[in-house]
């Protein structure tokens, strides 16, 4: 596998070019060779016709015997049956015969076939006359009497039936034809090679043009990530074919930017949330100590300090929970847990258990009881803090899933806030969250709920109708059947 796309592209185009140029060259070579051969054949035909004409003259004068009846096989040599009297083919004066035979020859030199040869056979197969006939050439058998072109070795030959059932053969070596094709082939090779080189050079240039916009996109992307993630590749400046790529990159940048922004927002929020109670703690202590005060003032100051310290402790605890969640709850304890019992226990510990309506059916999962308890606690506390009334918790098992629902009939959550309520430090009502320190929570409760649900292989969703009700729905994988029970350490 060649690692360079451009090189691969070059290789493929070289193959395609070779195919087309080579094919074209071969076609030219073939058609020229064909036309040469046709010309050669024509010359052979002319020669044959001339011989035929000469032979006719010769025979009309000198052949007095009628031709043997058709179908009779030509007998020759000594193995003819006894008593058979062969026809006397020629009864002519030997000197006339020799003169006539000498006249029986090829026409003057032809254009292509420089070295023609010929042979004339009598019907009985005896060679009447030949010139330059290659050794071992036999009388061709022309069964149907049609002229017959044949390539025999390095020769091209034409056989025809002459007058008086004689057989004529005219031939010529093919070498001159091949010799004439040589310069053409050389030119074709040179031209083809040049075309190939030109084509490849053009391809090299084209491939550079093709990769230019890609390079540009890469540069834009590099510039983006180095400086800030706010910029985008403008799809209008990108070629149509690359718009998908630009779009994909833009989407990736958007997601990256979003996650960076969330990270930055989280850091800013965390520092704000931690520093504010710290500022209160420090300032309050300083203020109390700045001058002698009444006991009641000290008590008040210490109460503020205590509340701040508690708030910080809570926040730190939750941040640590989230940090552990980010690390994957590496020490996740898994034991069988019945969510129904957990809900009952959490509600039972509330200051006012009557405020929460329970519709619990056994719902067994495998998980960390401490974390799952925190999940329920957070959701119930959230419902009580924001809804207050009509809080109902239900648990059930359905299709291998344990479903825990926490509903409240509170003011609800606006649609624009819904996608973000599970974000860390996100608060729907910021003013309320801050001014009454404590009751607004840390803004981490739902984030923790989501982490716990996700780490247990489940999910948490929220639906809300403003002014009517809010419903949190947690889905967790139900505990497996006893046969495939989790190999935990039941307490």
């Amino acid at each position: 596998m060649i690692p360079s796309l451009r090189l691969r592209l070059m290789l493929w185009s070289a193959l395609v070019l070779l195919g087309t140029v080579g094919g074209f060259g071969w076609f030219i070579h073939w058609s020229v060779a064909r036309s040469q051969e046709a010309e050669l054949d024509a010359e052979l035909e002319i020669s044959a016709a001339a011989l035929d004409a000469n032979l006719r003259l010769f025979l009309s004068r000198e052949l007095n015997n009628p031709p043997p009846p058709p179908g009779r096989p030509p007998a020759k040599g000594k193995d003819r049956p006894p008593g058979f009297r062969p026809p006397r083919p020629f009864s002519m004066r030997p000197d006339v015969r020799a003169r006539l035979l000498a006249e029986l020859k090829l026409p003057p030199k032809s254009r292509i076939s420089e070295e023609q040869y010929f042979g004339v056979w009598m019907p009985d197969g005896t060679l009447l006359r030949s010139e330059g006939l290659p050794d071992g050439t036999e009388c061709p058998a022309l069964s149907d009497g049609q002229p017959w072109f044949e390539k025999r070795g390095d020769f091209r030959e034409l056989s025809i039936l002459g007058p008086g059932r004689t057989t004529l053969l005219v031939g010529t070596p093919l070498e001159p034809v091949q010799r004439r094709l040589w310069p053409l082939d050389r030119n074709l090779l040179v031209a083809g090679g040049s075309i190939m080189a030109l084509g490849l050079a053009g391809q090299w240039w084209i491939s550079r043009q093709i990769f230019k916009p890609l390079k540009k996109i890469a540069q834009t992307a590099a510039g983006l990530s180095a400086k800030s993630l706010e910029g985008r590749i403008d799809p209008a400046t990108v070629d149509v074919e690359l718009r998908d790529l630009a779009q994909v990159l833009n989407n990736t940048f958007a997601r990256l930017e979003d996650s960076f922004k969330r990270q930055a927002a989280f850091t800013a929020d965390a520092s704000h949330e931690l520093r504010t109670p710290l500022a209160i703690l420090r300032g309050q202590a300083e203020l109390a100590l700045s001058r002698p005060r009444e006991n009641a003032e000290y008590v008040k100051a210490l109460r503020v300090c205590q509340a701040s310290a508690e708030r910080m402790a809570d926040l730190v605890e939750r941040l640590l929970t989230l940090a552990r969640a980010d690390a994957g709850f590496s020490v996740l304890q898994t034991t069988p847990v019945d969510m129904a019992k957990l809900v009952a226990s959490v509600v039972g510990e509330l200051p006012d258990p009557e405020a929460v309506d329970q519709m619990i059916r056994p719902a067994r999962v495998t998980g960390d009881p401490v974390l799952l308890r925190q999940l329920i606690q957070n959701l119930v506390a959230n419902a009580l803090a924001h809804g207050g009334k009509g809080v109902r918790v239900s648990t059930r098992t359905q299709d291998g899933l344990v479903i825990v629902k926490v509903r409240d009939k509170g003011p609800g959550i606006a649609e624009k806030d819904l996608p973000r309520i599970f974000d860390r430090f996100y608060r729907v009502d910021k003013a309320r969250a801050r001014s009454d320190s404590g009751t607004g929570g840390t803004g981490l409760g739902l984030a923790i709920c989501r982490e716990i649900a996700v780490r247990h292989g489940g999910s948490i969703t929220c639906q809300s109708i403003v002014g009517q009700e809010t419903l949190f729905r947690v889905e967790l994988p139900a505990e497996k059947a006893p046969g495939e029970d989790f190999q935990g350490n039941p307490q």
Partner: protein, 233 residues
């Protein structure tokens, strides 16, 4: 000085207000951005202590809005500690920037420094003849003798001294020295001024009847006749 504290965190706001009041400032407060912007634009404060992360309208917005209309000094108080945040705040027109958690004494010192800068005097002490006002310790001495003043009396004296030679109207004094929560009946300026005269001598503060009060500029003759106790016009 009259100071506005805009901070949404109740406990922090309470302690800031108390600390600033104990340091002798008249303090108003706002608990969200909208109220803060409204008050900062509507009243002539000497200083606004502004949190950045506020519900309703954040500190940046309030500052930008305020700067379009007023040069009121602004001290940013925030948990954002990156250089970018500080530069952004100062470039928007903040006069100082303090990162939470801060030392209360540092905050009070910065508030005093901003006050001095506003009054055009870099020095923390003001000399009025033989009377010396130390704005850091908020104490007044005459020669070697320390003179005890109430917070209100001191605030009025400092205001008059910082604008020495100028006429300071009664409404000015009300605006600068008393905050929204002061009961106007118990804080009659005249009462405080007469107390000051008793403690510091009659020649120091002059009355311009129907207008206000002034402390004469240095070298200006102080005719005995004008310093009668008939300051109530």
């Amino acid at each position: 000085m009259r100071v506005l504290v805009v901070e949404d965190e109740r406990a922090l706001r309470n302690l800031l207000v108390q600390a600033l009041r104990e340091d002798g400032h008249a303090v108003d407060w706002a608990e969200d951005g909208l109220d803060g912007a409204h008050k900062a634009l509507g009243t002539a404060y000497d200083l606004v202590v502004l949190d950045v992360m506020l519900p309703g309208m954040d500190g940046w917005e309030i500052l930008a809005k305020l700067r379009r209309e007023k040069p009121t000094p602004v001290l940013f108080l925030t948990a954002r500690d990156t250089v970018d945040d500080k530069v952004k705040g100062l470039d928007l027109g903040a006069d100082d920037y303090l990162v939470k958690p801060f030392a209360l004494t540092e905050l009070l010192a910065r508030v005093r420094a901003l006050g001095r800068r506003r009054q055009g005097t870099g020095s923390p002490t003001i000399q009025l003849g033989s009377t010396t006002i130390d704005t850091n310790s908020r104490s007044v001495r005459r020669g070697e003798e320390s003179i005890p003043l109430t917070a209100r009396e001191y605030a009025i004296l400092e205001l008059l001294a910082s604008r020495r030679g100028e006429l300071v109207t009664k409404s000015d004094i009300y605006d600068r020295v008393f905050d929204d929560q002061d009961d106007s009946l118990s804080n009659l300026v005249e009462v405080h001024v007469s107390h000051l005269r008793k403690k510091l001598g009659k020649g120091l503060i002059q009355t311009r009847r129907g207008h206000g009060y002034r402390i004469p500029a240095e070298g200006e003759p102080t005719p005995e006749g004008d310093e009668t106790g008939t300051d109530i016009s």
